[in-house]
Symmetry: C2
Subunit: 445 residues, 2 copies
């Protein structure tokens, strides 16, 4: 896909207007909405909007639904009220849930106003849950029958419709509570009069609306079923989480983790307007600046030393960066473990011991290497000893912080993937500089 | 899941042996193999092996299959030849493909030796493809009929078996070429004598064995179907890629991207043996050390300056880190775009222009802020001017390298997620130090 997509971008950007129209028509006829969405995201703002205006009204919704938040907003902002109304016509509840973050509030109201009764009801239901709860992301098209239904009822339903990603039929009691699930394959072979309950799965996972959306989505991916029921706190069936939506949720989560490392989020637009993009990144730069000034302040405590032994200033980056890298290795491992629920009180001590041992080994190894190089470079064995000790101290501190920082952030309900790295490198910078310059002051002056 | 998993880890680590046995029995009876795998990964090596030895032979394979590479190896290494033979009994081709990287070569041969003819044939087929090609990861259980089959044949097949993740039936010609796909829902409602071809999907995506495995897996996730056929270069059906396997491939890819940032891979074991872990991380520290020494060498060129204006040594980390952060924001955005096929020759110039503009804006903003702070701190407006200019230069260089470095790495077929960050910070460190100390030499001496 990636290669083909690159080619299409080239054809759309470099071609004459007539060629562009032809390419676009072909793309819209043969590609999945997801690919069209990726393509539109790859176009510079102006040509993105020009292309978008040529997309027929009936294909727009599907494309918007799979687009990332920020680029989607650029398109919605450009649409006239009439175009938006056309978009809202016959929209399903889950589509409006997906779009509502990118729409001004009054547009959401407008969409609700043209929405049919049942869908509006579903939308209100989803709105009871937060962004990170699975109840917000359920879909409502599913195979459903009363608990006393028989195989013949099941077959009648299957003949009429078989929604995407439906491998089981849900049995629901009078109060609307989910009760059992029956595999379609079980229904097809069985005698007409048999109660469906007799064919139901022995163990079938049920999701609760309040569950974390990513955890729940992963459960769907691992269940072996194509969709799981989602119920409210009273057991009433809210809808289902299918493996398609689950995949989107999980992929979005991972994208968010990757972007968080640089203080951005998964909605970031490749071609965001310059001022908007600069503003959103400035905050992260500002936070980082504070930590850099803090490190500088600690260095400033040793001005006298630096003046007399300038070799220390030259070698400072080595001490800081070895600590930063060693720490980020531990940090990355622990963040993944926390996300998967694999790091907990019970194994924390064992983990810390292991990471400190790994850090100790690498600390000794690199302390020796760096000590020798520095001794030879500056012709002073004492400088070699000073930097070797500082490296050892800093790598050990890095191992400790690499475990402690994300664990503490997680306890505080902060995302370690976002702020873990900034805090960690602040620690390793300061420990590194203070150890190095402090030892230098003691041994070299 | 994550919370429940944490609790289970606690119960297994802290409990008495009898309690442990009870917890384990309950876990094995009620949890998905994926959860048991996560649980085993979370246990320190010794207690992981003790727990593993108590897992009944018939549950072992499913757990091993979903485990990460390195922890899986710790378990396989611990198993006796008899236990391994039991594991190999009746193993499917795709299971051996999954395990073969964690097994010594002679054990793979042994497994092939006890494998049935058909599965061995499938395994040899998968081995024709590389790790990153989708042909290697196909499964072989699927609904298949000759192209001239009718609805009654389809119904007969459906009554007999309905594999996981099967929402279409594949029609295959005499030469074994994939020809059409028919939705199960279409078959169920239709008259017995109708040829299945008449019900087939108009457009149905087909994957080729050589396609990139992650791209192909994403295609499956986006197709709306639960599985797509995979064919060889002659159109012969090799097997299918189902949405369950596709999700695993995509999730593993994202985990790999997250780990690559710290020079590790997705197979890394939370409780790897200390020496093994230290060795695997040492390489990354060594590479980083070379870049740190390079930066130091550039600083060393300005020893005279540093000796006379020690404020420059104090402020060095601010210049380097602002460049590093600004660059990593651009880098992260471009790496994602490259992975999705969204960054290409056609939009590269526009992207560079946008990132340089964003960098320019933030460069000017932070240059002013930092310049003022530095002037006041050291009571020297010239120091303020020197650092302001250096910050502006470095943030611009960061924006340029943030685009150029990953694009060049991608052209060279190197993974920008692995080495992009090291190269980028080397550039921003060196540009930052040289600009800052160079300007300092010119304006302050």
């Amino acid at each position: 896909m990636t290669d083909e997509l690159s080619d299409l971008i080239g054809e759309l950007v470099d071609a004459t207007p007539e060629q562009q129209d032809q390419v676009l028509r072909q793309v819209l006829a043969t590609r999945e909405p997801e690919e069209v969405a990726l393509l539109l995201e790859s176009l510079p703002l102006q040509s993105r909007l020009e292309t978008w205006r040529k997309v027929p009204a009936d294909q727009r919704l599907q494309i918007l639904l799979t687009m990332r938040g920020d680029p989607r907003e650029t398109l919605l902002d450009d649409m006239s009220r009439e175009d938006l109304d056309a978009l809202f016509q016959g929209m399903a509840a889950e589509d409006l849930v997906e779009l509502s973050d990118s729409l001004p509030k009054r547009m959401v109201e407008r969409a609700l106003w043209v929405m049919d009764e049942q869908q509006r009801h579903y939308f209100e239901g989803a709105r009871q849950y937060k962004d990170d709860q699975i109840g917000r992301w359920v879909t409502h098209e599913m195979l459903m029958l009363p608990t006393n239904a028989r195989v013949r009822d099941g077959m009648r339903l299957l003949r009429r419709e078989l929604p995407e990603y439906a491998d089981t039929l849900f049995l629901v009691n009078r109060a609307g509570h989910f009760s059992e699930a029956v595999r379609i394959g079980q229904i097809i072979g069985s005698p007409d009069h048999l109660p469906l309950v007799d064919l139901s799965e022995d163990v079938f996972p049920v999701l609760e609306g309040q569950e974390d959306s990513v955890d729940a989505a992963i459960k769907v991916q691992q269940s072996g079923y194509t969709a799981l029921p989602v119920v409210d706190e009273n057991g009433r069936l809210l809808g289902r989480m299918d493996i398609g939506t689950a995949g989107e949720l999980v992929n979005t989560y991972y994208e968010g983790q990757l972007m968080a490392g640089a203080g951005m989020d998964e909605d970031e637009d490749l071609f965001a307007p310059v001022v908007k993009s600069a503003r959103s990144r400035a905050l992260w730069l500002g936070i980082n600046l504070l930590t850099a000034f803090l490190a500088s302040w600690f260095i400033g405590l040793f001005e006298m030393t630096l003046q007399q032994v300038v070799a220390l200033a030259v070698l400072m980056p080595v001490v800081a960066s070895m600590g930063g890298i060693a720490g980020s290795q531990t940090l990355t491992l622990i963040i993944r473990g926390l996300a998967m629920g694999q790091v907990t009180n019970a194994n924390l001590k064992a983990l810390l011991k292991k990471e400190l041992s790994v850090g100790g080994l690498n600390g000794v190894l690199w302390a020796i290497v760096i000590g020798i190089v520095a001794s030879i470079w500056f012709g002073s064995p004492v400088i070699g000893i000073v930097i070797a000790m500082a490296i050892l101290i800093n790598i050990a501190a890095a191992a400790f912080s690499g475990v402690a920082v994300p664990v503490v952030l997680d306890r505080l309900k902060l995302d370690p993937a976002l702020s873990g790295s900034v805090i960690l490198t602040t620690v390793t910078d300061i420990v590194g500089f203070v150890a190095f310059l402090g030892l230098g002051t003691l041994l070299l002056l």
